[in-house]
């Protein structure tokens, strides 16, 4: 059986193979607010479009000021890497995602496409009704496209498969709890990303056999425990760099990290409403944490739960949602005396520079870690 890491590295081959095996269609999406369950119930492979690091000589023609992820995904379409994708869906979230969707459709108008509105004010009284209505219309459009009905049974199955996947991934996160740290941050990130490009039923089978193996591992040696915050990430390079310095990323507050798995669809008779509520109720992204503030406290909660010793904030250059929220995160961290290091990343991880910054953070944290000196033994 292939490992998650191999699937992540060969994700285009995986999706092509999935198409050949199932005869199904692949629906690319950008942001984790997209309710994948609905597409899955329609028999599609909801595929999170992930940035890579390929040379870009093309996107300037249509883009300016974008973060690298949105550029890179468009670039990959231009380079033909996503030639197996049958349709694209964009959900109301960061405008640069919309821009990647828009520019891709300009170049590839033959792709099936849909813009799914979801409220930016996720906690407003009528948000659930607006989202429910949008989901009904989305289902109708999907049905026209695939030529069959999305049944309640299929929705129930999708909800089960996705809830199970989230539960398994939460178990994986538990393997970095303070009392028993069995896995590395880089391993978790690779598994998380692979799960976002896979058929979740297949991912669940793999997770079910992998988790006991990981649980049986001997615990890692105690070291500096870091939490990762910031723009979404597409590889585990930063985690590996941290590990090379003797520390470990033990949790995160990333859109494609904990925010992807922390809450489930609570089954209701009205399946679409249940799905809509799950997405409205998920940990707020930086953009959607606006009127009803939850994000800073949520970050603190995760930090405490995983007993981290410090925080890394890795923001994409030109990421305005995080650019406009970081003051609140800094304020929280400063007020609670939590050591942190912020840096911006671009197309590639500036290795030496990042290493220097993370090393400085670790050196700052270490002297205060009495448990490492045996005081708590």
């Amino acid at each position: 059986m292939k490992t998650f890491k191999e699937i992540l590295e060969n994700r285009h081959a995986y999706a092509k193979d999935w198409k050949a095996r199932t005869g199904g269609k692949v629906l690319g999406f950008y942001d984790t607010y997209f309710p994948e369950e609905v597409a899955y119930a329609a028999g599609l492979l909801p595929l999170r479009l992930l940035a890579s690091h390929c040379e870009d000589a093309l996107t300037d023609r249509l883009m300016y000021g974008n973060c690298y992820c949105t550029r890179d995904i468009f670039n990959q379409f231009m380079l033909g890497r996503y030639d197996y994708v049958d349709g694209l869906v964009s959900i109301e979230s960061c405008q640069w995602w919309y821009n990647a969707f828009d520019t891709t459709l300009i170049e590839f108008p033959e792709l099936w496409s849909h813009y799914l509105f979801t409220t930016d004010y996720v906690d407003a009284r009528t948000s659930k009704d607006a989202v429910f209505s949008e989901l009904k219309i989305f289902v109708k459009r999907l049905e026209e496209w695939i030529g069959k009905t999305v049944t309640d049974e299929a929705l129930d199955n999708a909800i089960d498969v996705y809830n199970k996947n989230r539960a398994l991934l939460r178990q994986l996160y538990q393997l970095r709890r303070f009392d028993r740290t069995a896995v590395l941050g880089s391993e978790v990130m690779e598994i998380m990303l692979a799960n976002q490009v896979m058929d979740k039923a297949e991912a669940n089978v793999m997770l079910e056999s992998l988790l006991p193996e990981l649980e049986a591992r001997a615990p890692q040696e105690d070291g500096v425990r870091l939490m990762l915050i910031g723009s979404e990430t597409y590889d585990a390079k930063l985690e590996k760099l941290v590990e090379s310095l003797g520390a470990n990323i033990v949790t995160d507050e990333l859109d494609n990290g904990t925010a992807y798995i922390l809450n489930d669809v609570i089954p209701m008779k009205n399946r679409l409403m249940a799905i809509g509520l799950r997405y409205l109720g998920k940990p707020h992204s930086a953009l959607k944490d606006n009127v009803w503030r939850r994000r800073p406290e949520h970050i603190y909660q995760l930090y405490e739960d995983f007993q981290a010793d410090g925080v890394i904030i890795a923001k994409q250059i030109y990421c305005h949602p995080h650019g406009s929220d970081m003051y609140a995160v800094w304020k929280l961290l400063r007020e609670r005396n939590i050591p942190y290091h912020t840096f911006e990343r671009d197309t590639t991880l500036p290795y030496e520079e990042t290493k220097l910054g993370v090393e400085a953070l670790i050196s700052m944290i270490k002297p205060g870690m009495t448990r490492l000196h045996g005081w708590s033994k």
Partner: protein, 439 residues
């Protein structure tokens, strides 16, 4: 060669415009000082529903940030630095950074005048993400109540099925804001005042559309300075509705007279160009510079935003595209009725929506104003000012309009605009079109 082709003369209505603006500023200052007034961050968009509250002054960060940038570069830098060292990103809208940097500093002008703390925040719903996050800082740091209303969006033609739930969501969001202001601040909302505005606004829109249509004449009767100064007198500068109507009536009369008598904004007009989003407020000098080439800017979708959403009329003039009209003879009896008549469409009421789903509007605009060229800034900061600009440039080029892009930080942020380079580009661009500076 004589430079002068057309007669020019200053606008007479400037005095009135300045008076209205000064009254607005006075009201803000008084609100900051008075215990009975409420000073709110934000905007109400389209129809100003805030008129129903006595003593509620809603102030957007756009004009404040823009004025700061053009008045004092060093002070706006100080304000932005105050934001950046506290974690604000450099890719943020300069208006936001200037305005809220002052909150960190505690004063809002170089002379040290105290920062006017807002008592609530009602960010203007807008497709730009920066609006969804606006006013969040004053909520976090004061703390004060903040309300939000979504700006729904979808692609393709109008879809009644999608519309109904999304419109209802918009209406309920604003109803909630009004009810909450009543509850939290004990203010009574006067529905009659809202009904009155609803009566006046469509009449203002007709006048504003007339001004835009008059700008299609050669020579253009107004320059960008007038357009940009006056469009704020309703959207961003809240004034008494009747005064607003009277002002626009007088303005249309004067502009019509200028058109009839071929009074130009630029005496040497022989070339017309358009823009897309705001110009760099701190460097409006380039408009004067372009006059040396006999070039006049006829505005942008931004400067004519009171007309939005735009459409190209059959006779080739610019008009207003309203897909969902107020039903004939509809009687507005309740606050809900009033809000439903304001928010008839889930989307499509801002010129920025055009960038999503009515992409033809940019070329329609160029046609209606008979432009030769387009100068389209690319702003590094503030997503809403730049999204689709490259795409729009390509569309215009394809129809034969010459396009010049230049780069900067954001209209309210001088950081990245190389002014000399920009002027050099203008020279090369004009010369490449066979135009030299007039003697």
């Amino acid at each position: 060669m004589s430079k002068q082709i057309w007669e020019t003369r200053p606008l007479e209505i400037w005095g009135k415009a300045k008076e209205l603006r000064a009254n607005f500023q006075k009201a803000i200052n008084e609100a900051a000082a008075s215990p009975n007034s409420l000073l709110a961050h934000g905007n109400t968009g389209g129809v100003d529903w805030s008129v129903g509250f006595d003593g509620l002054n809603v102030v957007e960060d756009n004009p404040i940030g823009a004025i700061m940038a053009s008045r004092s570069d060093s002070f706006s830098r100080e304000a932005r630095l105050a934001s950046e060292i506290r974690g604000w990103g450099r890719e943020l809208c300069g208006y936001v950074n200037n305005c809220w940097g002052c909150q960190f500093l505690g004063y809002d002008s170089p002379d040290g005048a105290p920062f006017p703390y807002r008592q609530l925040s009602v960010p203007l719903p807008d497709p730009c993400d920066q609006h969804a996050k606006r006013g969040q800082q004053c909520m976090d740091l004061s703390p004060i109540p903040r309300f939000g209303a979504d700006w729904p969006m979808y692609l393709g033609p109008i879809d009644p099925e999608r519309e109904s739930a999304l419109v209802e969501h918009k209406v309920q969001c604003i109803l909630h804001v009004i009810n909450e202001i009543e509850r939290i601040f004990g203010k009574k909302y006067d529905d009659e005042k809202l009904f009155n505005v609803l009566d006046i606004v469509p009449r203002v829109q007709v006048l504003v559309t007339k001004i835009a249509q008059l700008m299609a004449n050669v020579p253009a009767p107004l320059g960008l300075k007038e357009l940009y100064s006056f469009y704020t007198l309703s959207v961003l500068t809240k004034i008494d509705p009747q005064e607003m109507l009277d002002f626009w009536k007088a303005f249309v009369d004067e502009v019509q007279w200028r058109v009839d008598n071929k009074i130009a904004a630029v005496a040497t007009e022989r070339y017309r160009w358009m823009e897309a989003h705001p110009s760099p407020w701190h460097f409006l000098r380039y408009f004067r510079y372009m006059e040396q080439y006999g070039a006049v800017c006829i505005g942008s979708q931004y400067s004519h935003m009171l007309v939005e959403p735009f459409k190209l009329n059959d006779d080739g003039t610019i008009g207003r595209e309203e897909q969902v009209k107020v039903p004939e003879g509809q009687k507005i009896r309740t606050r809900e009725d009033a809000l439903r008549s304001i928010f008839r469409e889930a989307r499509g009421e801002r010129f920025k929506d055009d960038e999503y789903f009515r992409k033809h509007v940019i070329t329609d605009f160029a046609k209606a104003f008979h432009v030769d060229g387009a100068i389209m800034p690319l702003w590094r900061a503030g997503v809403g000012c730049t999204l689709t600009r490259k795409e729009q440039g390509l569309r215009l080029s394809e129809m034969g309009v010459r396009v010049l892009h230049y780069e900067g930080a954001q209209p309210g942020d001088r950081t990245d605009l190389d002014e000399h380079d920009f002027l050099d580009r203008l020279d090369i661009w004009m010369e490449s079109q066979g135009l030299e500076k007039l003697a």
